[in-house]
């Protein structure tokens, strides 16, 4: 059953140097506050896993927490580049960043296999692209019934997955709704899980389009109102598109980024 703790305690306990860490949330419900907490606690050598690195990984990469990125689309949605991601890949600053690069369909299916306790997943994907030439975790498999060739990708099983959700009850059952992305799979695939929530409530009122993650698959829950900002939590906040646009200027240069880390993350 999930423990209800502070985010600082949870990150201290659950996220360790060298871990494979997935912070998921597809545009919606991105666990941004947890990402900043990982920076504050000075984690190093993380393998960061996420379909869309977004600002949360731009920050972790720029702060030197990561040695590898497993991903499928690394842009600032609606704005342009992730400059800290680019600086790491193009110039190795602040540290070289190994890449393991897939398509969205491949990443989603890797989490599915991880959640399902299977070593791999099968999809119609990658055929004819250069991805398989640069990514060793893309192979071919043959259908034993039809002889067709399909793509196989290995399961993703993060040491720890972090997500943000709208609510949890006091037993640690977690409820999220709206665009729920790949969060269920990312949680079920992980060895440990931290969920930050907008609020902890006595009872989870059933909601349309909601999913509940039972407390017995959640390690820790922390109440962090606004923990997705500048991403959003449907029913609690709107996406801060202006911050996404403003991030372009903050992240474009190393010094402005470092100032942001000093003045905002460590404020």
């Amino acid at each position: 059953m999930a423990d209800i703790v502070s985010m600082a305690e949870a990150v201290a306990e659950l996220v360790r140097d060298g871990d494979t860490v997935a912070l998921e949330g597809f545009t919606h419900l991105i666990p941004m506050a947890a990402g900043r907490e990982i920076i504050r606690q000075g984690r190093r050598d993380l393998t960061l896993v996420r379909m869309t690195p977004d600002l949360v990984y731009d920050q972790l990469i720029g702060a030197g927490c990561a040695s590898k990125l497993v991903f499928s689309w690394g842009g600032n949605p609606g704005v342009g580049s992730l400059h800290r991601f680019r600086d790491a890949v193009e110039h190795g600053w602040p540290a070289p960043l190994a890449l393991e690069e897939h398509s969205h369909a491949g990443m989603a299916n890797r989490y599915v296999a991880g959640a399902a306790g299977l070593p791999f997943a099968v999809l119609r994907g990658y055929a004819g692209t250069d991805l398989a030439t640069v990514t060793s975790t893309i192979k071919q498999i043959t259908c034993p019934f039809t002889g067709e060739h399909l793509a196989a990708v290995p399961a993703l099983n993060p040491d720890v997955t972090v997500i943000h959700a709208q609510r949890a009850d006091r037993a640690g059952n977690v409820q999220l709704w709206g665009l729920v992305g790949v969060q269920k799979e990312a949680v079920l695939a992980a060895r440990r899980t931290l969920v930050t929530v907008e609020e902890i409530v006595d009872e989870l009122t059933p909601m349309p389009d909601a999913m509940v993650l039972p407390s017995w698959v959640v390690t820790a829950v922390a109440e962090v109102p606004g923990g997705a900002h500048p991403s959003y939590a449907q029913g609690y906040s709107e996406r801060d598109n202006e911050f996404y646009a403003a991030w372009d200027a903050i992240a474009r240069h190393r010094d402005s980024f470092q100032r942001w880390v000093r003045e905002v993350v460590f404020a």
């Binding site: 597809f26 545009t27 919606h28 379909m51 869309t52 991903f71 499928s72 689309w73 690394g74 842009g75 600032n76 949605p77 609606g78 704005v79 342009g80 580049s81 992730l82 991601f85 680019r86 890949v89 193009e90 690069e101 897939h102 398509s103 969205h104 369909a105 989603a108 299916n109 989490y111 599915v112 999809l123 119609r124 994907g125 990658y126 055929a127 004819g128 692209t129 250069d130 991805l131 640069v134 067709e148 060739h149 709206g178 665009l179 729920v180 992305g181 790949v182 269920k184 799979e185 389009d209 959003y232 449907q234 709107e238 996406r239 598109n241 202006e242 996404y244 646009a245």
Partner: protein, 269 residues
């Protein structure tokens, strides 16, 4: 909106970007459902729903099926998509149950680089291991390009985007030419239309090489050639795209205004 003003031969002046968006929207006249990337494809698809294709089903990779946003979404995960969708599904489901089986008529993609066979690069400029410019990467595009019944591509054209040889093949259009999609086992028909700010291209029925079939009003073939990194084929019956109508322009501009605090959506790969 960026782009060059077209001389006001038409009642309402419009930009090259507006012509591109209108031409893209028109292309969706016969589609029943469209898999929409953000940026130019989203503008085109939403414009089509507001003009000649009100029943067009928009599918977003964020899991919104049949979204009916009343403004331009600021990202593929904009809350308005979930709130107005017929159904909201998980990301694995949208790829596995909705895209992969070929349920989508048109996949609408952008590109950083395109080659003569409409293969797409959105991964790197330069060498993969030591890139000059690291682009966002694949996202949903490889499987959108593989599985939709057909694919439309929209991008601003220049000799830097229309290249002889891609630095990286992120998504396959027609591979090395005629028959390659079948050889690769790609189920959909691949790119059938490429729309730029200069004109419209369609693949040759045999060779699948892109052929200029329309120029936009005020654009001549030489200008298109100069913005193409290979020896451009031009259709014998080259036509001129009809200029945007007042109705189309009004709907497009209302859409553009609807996106508050508008970032530049064209910069998302």
């Amino acid at each position: 909106m960026t782009g060059t003003d077209v001389p006001p031969t038409d009642p309402v002046p419009y930009t090259a970007d507006e012509m591109m968006s209108v031409a893209s929207a028109r292309a969706l006249a016969d589609a029943r459902c469209c898999f929409v990337g953000i940026g130019l494809p989203s503008t085109a698809a939403n414009l089509a729903r507001r003009t000649h294709a009100p029943g067009l089903v928009l599918v977003y990779e964020s899991g919104a099926l049949g979204a009916k946003p009343d403004r331009l979404p600021a990202s593929i995960g904009d809350g308005i998509l979930a709130r107005t969708a017929v159904a909201v599904v998980s990301v694995p489901e949208v790829f596995n149950y909705w895209l992969q089986p070929g349920r989508i008529d048109v996949g609408f993609l952008g590109a950083a680089q395109l080659d003569r066979f409409a293969n797409i690069n959105t991964t790197v400029i330069g060498d993969y291991a030591r890139p000059t410019v690291r682009l966002p990467g694949a996202g949903g595009a490889p499987e959108i390009a593989a599985s939709c019944r057909e694919v439309f591509i929209v991008l601003r054209q220049s000799a830097r985007s229309f290249v002889r040889r891609l630095d990286f093949v992120t998504s396959v259009g027609h591979g090395g030419g005629g028959g390659d999609r079948a050889r690769l086992g790609l189920p959909g028909a691949g790119p059938t239309l490429v729309i730029t700010d200069l004109g419209v291209f369609r693949p040759d029925p045999q060779t699948r090489e892109l052929t200029l079939t329309e120029v936009h009003p005020g654009v001549d073939v030489e200008r298109v050639r100069a913005a193409t990194g290979w020896d451009l084929k031009v259709a014998a019956d080259l036509r001129t795209t009809p200029a945007p109508t007042d109705v189309e322009l009004a709907a497009l501009r209302q859409l553009a205004r609807s996106l508050e605090a508008a970032p530049d959506p064209a910069r998302e790969g």
